[in-house]
Point group: C2
Chain length 300, copies 2
């Protein structure tokens, strides 16, 4: 039985001054309902982005106060399941995204879900691979719009953040003030036109504090791999950040000699794009858990 959080209460900036909409216990199963990134404003192909109320874009549901979490704690979110809606949308926005210099016509596409596929323009069938675009905690100070990624998480658009994954954050404040939204039924790495298949949905998860002081967060764990995530104004800085944080994890947690870490990152690690279309770009570095095990390290 899950505790259900409806999507009535949303916020548009992660901030320590937010008021929690509910308190949850560590380990408690929570079902968090979410709007799509347009808060439902786009329902048909004639709903174009020039009619959007941009004050209602990228809503995150919450925030939730997680009992017993202290500022500085490492918080692990176990993503048990992600449900996506019956339809999702994609848009083109002239001037925006990685092809904004050539795309000149606003368009909206509605993708219907059929079983475990979404259908683009009644023609292209794509397997659903539900993932979470926006997920994070309040920073210690200041406020970060939900449309932006950062050290607190936020709009990372990382395709690894999916059912079965664990996502790690460092709490900026007591209670963490956790929230999520912006689900995608499917998305490719890069997010070229600034959207995946944007969909409402629900996320079933548990949250708990783990003893992993100095874990370079945001951090993701799947069945097969661990990944560091880093966001910065340029891709070169974002890549360097993700790479250095993985080296820090491998030497600090898995106790690998630095040269082993570097050579194995070069041999079996994968540097990957999350998104290249926000003012801060997001890059991740993936490393296989089997190699960690050979160095005697297991994620707790």
């Amino acid at each position: 039985m899950s505790r259900t959080i409806p999507r009535d209460n949303v916020f548009f900036a992660f901030s320590p001054s937010l008021r929690a909409v509910a308190e949850i216990e560590q380990g408690e199963e929570v079902l968090l309902h979410t709007h799509d990134c347009f808060e439902g404003q786009i329902q048909k192909t004639t709903d174009l982005v020039d009619a959007l109320d941009w004050g209602h874009v990228n809503p995150a549901t919450g925030p939730l106060y997680i009992q017993g979490v202290k500022a500085g704690d490492v918080l692990r979110i176990d993503l048990l399941d992600i449900q996506v809606g019956e339809q999702s949308s994609m848009v083109t926005i002239p001037g925006e995204g990685a092809l904004g210099d050539v795309i000149s016509v606003m368009e909206t596409a509605i993708l219907k879900r059929e079983g475990d596929q979404v259908v683009f323009k009644d023609k292209i069938r794509v397997p659903t691979r539900p993932m979470i675009g926006v997920i994070g905690v309040a920073p210690a100070e200041g406020e970060v719009p939900t449309g932006a990624p950062g050290a607190h998480g936020g709009n990372m658009d990382c395709t690894l953040i999916a059912a079965g994954s664990r996502v790690y954050f460092t709490a900026g404040v007591d209670g963490a003030l956790f929230g999520a939204g912006d689900l995608h039924a499917a998305m490719g790495d890069g997010e070229i036109v600034v959207c995946g298949a944007e969909t409402p949905g629900a996320v079933r998860f548990t949250a708990q504090v783990v003893e992993m002081k100095d874990l370079p967060t945001p951090f993701v764990e799947t069945g097969d791999l661990v990944a560091t995530i880093y966001s910065a104004p340029t891709l070169d800085e974002a890549a360097s950040g993700a790479i250095h944080r993985m080296a820090q994890f491998l030497t600090g947690f898995a106790r690998m000699p630095l040269n082993d870490a570097g050579m194995l990152m070069s041999l079996v690690g994968q540097l990957k794009f999350c998104q290249v279309v926000d003012p801060l770009k997001t890059v991740r570095f993936e490393f296989p858990k089997t190699v960690l095990a050979e160095y005697g390290y297991q994620m707790p």
Copy 2:
């Protein structure tokens, strides 16, 4: 039966002024033997990079004059097989690569091949995934060191360039002056410490001109996908180049409307790193052939 090209004749810069070491026919099977990127200078763990003769790094075997190729033609290289050696090497070079600011100790690791695996420090077993680091044709003018990537191909370090793939180049000169080297028994995307499992080996391939005027080369085709490759001084420029070239291919060759191309690139396309450690960084954009087929396009 393959025509065999020994690795006695190597070159260190792609250039129109190179003298071909052999002429091959279009469609003829060729087995090209290659040195590793150190031209065999590193054989044991005590062979460190400070003793390298850098004038013998990144040798490419060739160049080969391909009969009937005219400057401006699109040349397709079908990679039939890649054989790698019994051992490969990896090195750390303080000051070089994505962790050059923290790596301070030179080290050489020798990886023995056992069946279809390579073994790092007698401990980490990695499946071999043979790929070609350096492959390309002479530019129309100037010379490009074999250690650099560019519009002519070169040191792209793209993990897609493997057996079963086709790689497309635009000939800069008559005969193309094709060459290859720098095989890796395995490598992760990014090439963090500036090497994969560096190995000598041999590449079995055919070369032929195809009618694909204006194909954005270098271009790769595998069984499942097509990919554009672009190199530039910053990752942001490299990513933008790969993305724009894929949009150009999808609209120009597969005749997709630009908005469809952009939305599908965002939905099912994958922006990926090749290498981030040379003065020019290399990025690719992958797009599934199944979607091309839905738009009525097949690669010739």
